[in-house]
Symmetry: C2
Subunit: 121 residues, 2 copies
């Protein structure tokens, strides 16, 4: 796949809607988006996403029902990867330490996560 291209802010907003709704017609995306965008604006964005390989569609009569081809997880991962390298020398440990130091995550919550992964393996 070639969804390597980076998304612009607006394209990402559209993806967020599609990740939420799983599948949607342009009109539905439009309704879900903040600050009412013009129908054609949304249509353009969704087609740009198609070009970039982020979405695909099923034909229903004359209209297209779009759905994500790239999932939220792998996209999030890519973004976080970038952040990790921009701000924490690529170390997730550093990033999490930072959260802890800023009280963004508590001792208790870290314990819970630890339990979670212990039980996974």
């Amino acid at each position: 796949m070639k969804h390597s291209e980076k998304l612009t802010a607006k394209e990402e907003e559209v993806m967020a809607v599609l990740w939420k709704l799983k599948k949607a017609f342009v009109k539905e995306i439009q309704e879900e988006l903040e600050g009412n965008q013009h129908y054609n604006t949304v249509s353009t964005l969704v087609r740009l996403l198609e070009d970039k390989g982020y979405v695909a569609y099923k034909v229903f009569g004359k209209s297209h029902q779009y759905f994500p081809v790239v999932d939220k997880k792998s996209y999030s991962e890519k973004i976080l990867e970038q952040n990790s390298s921009r701000f924490f020398d690529g170390s997730y440990k550093n990033m999490v330490s930072f959260f802890a130091q800023q009280d963004k995550i508590s001792e208790q919550e870290l314990e819970e996560i630890l339990e979670l992964i212990k039980n996974k393996s």
Copy 2:
């Protein structure tokens, strides 16, 4: 505070250099940046950053030595905050769980962080 404006990609690159060097003349920033940028390009970027309240400078003869006014920590925090809300319902716990699940951080490392914050309090 008036450094609320968001930074563009290039502006952020310049900030990264300043965070690293602590203070620098345009020429030094230019040398530190990837893919040699034109001197004037760098100069423009740094002045845009000044307008946005991200940097300030000391005058040395005819030239300006720039330094960050916004620190890396608070900027990182802002960006991560955004990511957290875009991808994890604003929950840092969710974000860290995600890292753990993706094996971006190990059990061992989490234990270490936990120790760290236990000793802090």
